[in-house]
Amino acid sequence: MPVQSLFPAAVDEVTAWFAAQGTSVATRVPEREGGDRCRVWRLEPGVASLADSCVSVVLNADFPATAARLEVSKKLCLRFPHVEADGHLCHGVQPAPEDFDAPVEAVGRVLDRLDEFLVLCQNLGWMEAEFHRERRDYWSRHVALGKASRRRHRVDLLLDIDVNARPEQELDAVLLGQGFKALATSAAAEPEKVAAHRGWTVGTLVRGGCLVVRLPDAERWTPSTWPRTFCELDELLSGITSVQGRLSNWYGSRRWPNKAPVMVALLQGTAVFGFQLLPASLPKLTSPTLLPIEVSRVDRQWCLSRDHRADALMTLSSKRVVVLGCGSLGSQVIQLLARAGVGSLEVVDPQTFETENVSRHLLGLTSAGAGKAATVCARVERDVPGAKLTPAGVSAAHWLAKLRRDEKFDLVVDCTGERSVRLALSRVRATLLNDAPVVMAWMEPGCSAAHVVVVNGLDVWPSCDPAETSVNVAVWPDGVEVEVAGCGAGFHPYGMADASRAAGLASERALAVLAGNSDLAPGNRLPC
């Protein structure tokens, strides 16, 4: 069945052009058309071929919104760079607006790139450089093409590792869930506990292991250098660590239970390459089989910074912040601060989560009736690795009253929006809080405006609490608040979109204070 093109005129023009070139150049292959493929031509070998494989030009149904595709034999994947597992040759030519008017030229640009590619492929140095440059992606192709044995399937690895620690680490590993993933951790806690903390179910109780070695930055990692056997990997690791038989010693040092995940992970910069070691068919006579696997890092540094500017994350990780109020503003501020990397957060809120706040709170229906502070803490802790959140299901006043004088905080964020809390904070900051900086954030009715006041250093928040007189900008007639049948239970209508803007503003200022650059231009300071 012919494939309907989105832009038939362009496809027809190219079709006519190919027909005019004659069959000595390209032949249309109707039997390979179908699905998304509108037209397929096979270029004659004299025109273009790659390692004796013909090159096909394919127009997809949305050509020229997407450039013409090039296809070669899928066997060439990992033999030549930029060839996908299905034979798709990624030429990198981007579609241009002019292609709609000149579709033949658009195909010409792709053929020109093909010409360049074929010349470059004669240069092994170029091919090696390309394989190495995109080594993570080619490793994924290698993993996808790898075959496990009949009895064992592939297990991919979640790696929870402190990359700044030793260049070689021997970790414990456990299978998760259905056994298609394993977790290896360098944390002091057992891997089962780490998994439970993250909300992952542990598959079986057998304990495996993972040997992690840092691959030198200058190490080439291409199809021509990948270790394919246990011995080759052992040789590589021995070379890197200067310990003869590094891998075989480690593997032989324990008796691994059946089905235990036994893995090797190689770190190079931000890339990780992994192997699963499948038990030898004839133990002591043959070596274990190597199976390439995908490795995803799940450690804090990777999840929160991709290893980029890790020192800034380290600084934030050491900070201790208390957030008063875990409502529509506070819950989001807590999440934003935790994801930014604040290491330790104390959350103070006495209320339970009620269903009418689903529209503007981090929590949803599944948390109805649960304590806000505890539920938000548990949720953020599960989602943000390494974040420590401590809930206090009490009011801000109560929490302040019970605060020990030797407790030190790097920052107090008030998201209650309550005058009583601001009044209390202005009076106890110098004494109880040891002059810790205070960020007070609140929203005006209907979230028409949001305010963030930073009280830092010698600043003092006036004890008269001039929020309404000197800060707020809106004037509201009576009756804006929607009344409900309860004492003080009215509400201002606003949604999460409004609260998010306020939370973003407050969090940004809070992070600036933590980074030590909270000073604002004089115009932004409150007149005393």
Binding site: W17, Q21, V25, L43, E44, G46, V47, A48, P81, H82, E84, C90, H91, G92, V93, Q94, A102, V104, E105, A106, V107, G108, R109, L111, D112, R113, L114, D115, E116, F117, L118, V119, L120, Q122, N123, L124, G125, W126, E128, A129, E130, H132, R133, E134, D137, Y138, R214, L215, P216, D217, A218, E219, R220, S224, T225, L236, G239, I240, T241, S242
Partner: protein
């Protein structure tokens, strides 16, 4: 990989095939003509020489030294006559040593000496470009010239307190020993060894009036200069092999001084043990390539050693021992590629040799030389090219080529 029927040595395998094709002589000619065209030409060489003499005069004035206390001479590939043009538009790197002596440099401070020297290089930026410091030398770009200078200030170390005739600034250890002359002499002595199948070519060296300045070695490099040609060939192959590599991999590429040292050992040993059995220059080249890894030593602690033959405490392969073995493995990879490429190339009939095999060893320059020798004008696949032209698309500018996959999200 090697079947029982084949001779198990690369050189033997190749020579068998070369013997059949009788193309050995033509390959030899090609190799020599190609390497010659990649050397620094005589005009540029003379220009460089003029410039470094001028530099010496200038430095003496600025450093307030008598002219005889400033000695200037080339080191590295310029001295060993194994220059090879860097790929693309990059300039020749000419390494110059400026040896400072006199009372001022009896007890010098390394950093002070280096800084002062850098300041003395200033003042002629319109010719030399801005001097930029490196670890041991200052780089002068000489904009508009086909070369740039790496100028290393060195102090005479008469007592050899640091182990060699000269010492140079080293940011980590203050001073490092250096003996560029001795090393180059060691190489040149061995490069003069001749195999009996070759007629020795007489040469004349230029004698300069001013004794304190060594002329750039200017003797003509003849067809019999097997060791130099092999070194050039290996450098060319290495540069070609790493041309597209990213910076980290480039750092791991085998450095020239290691190639020179290993090849020289191999050449000397071949001359000593198998002089009579060698029939052609190509045979010797292949044997050098084959033998050279033997001269990488492992000490008892498992450390790799390629000692400076004239300063045995200096290990050219020092960095191989602090990188997890990456450079050692990379050397093996490069070396096996060189063998593969040479084999793929030389087992072909000369006239039917395909361009990609040539490109593997010699890069585009090799392809051009081969085309010239066969008087082939065209390049690439003409059919595909004409097809591109037929579409009306603007063919890419070959100088501005964007390699496939770059700056795009292919495979991302």
């Amino acid at each position: 990989m090697i079947s029982g029927q084949q001779p198990n040595k690369l050189s033997e395998r190749l020579l068998k095939s070369l013997g059949l094709t009788r193309d050995g002589a033509r390959w030899e000619q090609l190799i020599v003509s190609l390497l010659k065209r990649l050397e620094l030409d005589s005009a540029a060489r003379a220009d460089a020489e003029r410039e470094y003499l001028r530099l010496a005069d200038d430095l003496a004035t600025k450093l307030d030294l008598p002219r005889h206390d400033v000695d200037v001479f080339p080191q590295g590939s310029m001295r060993t006559q194994t220059t090879i043009r860097p790929r693309g538009t990059a300039n020749f790197d000419i390494d110059i040593v400026v040896q400072l002596s006199g009372p001022k440099y009896q007890h010098p401070d390394a950093e002070k000496m280096f800084e002062e020297f850098g300041r003395a290089l200033e003042g002629r930026e319109h010719v030399t470009g801005r001097p930029t410091p490196r670890r041991r030398c200052w780089t002068l770009q000489y904009p508009g010239k086909p070369f740039y200078f790496d100028v290393t200030p060195a102090i005479q170390d008469n007592l050899r307190a640091y182990g060699a005739a000269l010492r140079v600034r080293d940011p980590d250890t203050q001073w490092s020993p250096s003996n560029p002359k001795e090393f180059a002499d060691w190489f040149c002595e061995r490069a003069e060894l001749r195999f009996p199948f070759i007629q020795t070519v007489a040469f004349s060296s230029v004698v300069e009036a001013r004794k304190s300045i060594d002329p750039l070695p200017a003797e003509p490099v003849g067809i019999d200069d097997i060791l130099r040609r092999t070194v050039q060939l290996m450098k060319l192959h290495r540069d070609n092999f790493y041309h597209y590599a990213d910076e980290r991999l480039k750092e791991a590429a085998p450095i020239s001084v290691i190639l020179v040292t290993l090849a020289t050992h191999a050449y000397e040993n071949l001359h000593r043990t198998r002089r009579a059995s060698m029939g052609t220059a190509i045979e010797v080249v292949l044997a050098i390539v084959e033998e050279m890894p033997k001269y990488i030593r492992q000490d008892a602690a498992g450390q790799s050693w390629v000692p400076n033959p004239e300063l045995p405490t200096e290990n050219f392969a020092d960095r191989w021992n602090s990188d997890g073995g990456a450079r050692a493995r990379e050397f093996k990879r490069w070396h096996s590629q060189l063998e593969v490429h040479l084999e793929a190339l030389l087992t072909d009939e000369y006239s039917s040799s395909t361009e990609d095999k040539l490109r593997g060893v010699f890069g585009q320059a090799g392809v051009d030389a081969w085309r010239d020798s066969l008087q082939i004008a065209d390049s690439g696949n003409p059919l595909l090219k004409s097809l591109v032209v037929a579409t009306g698309a603007q063919p890419r500018n070959p100088l501005m080529a964007t390699p496939v996959g770059r700056k795009t999200n292919t495979l991302a």
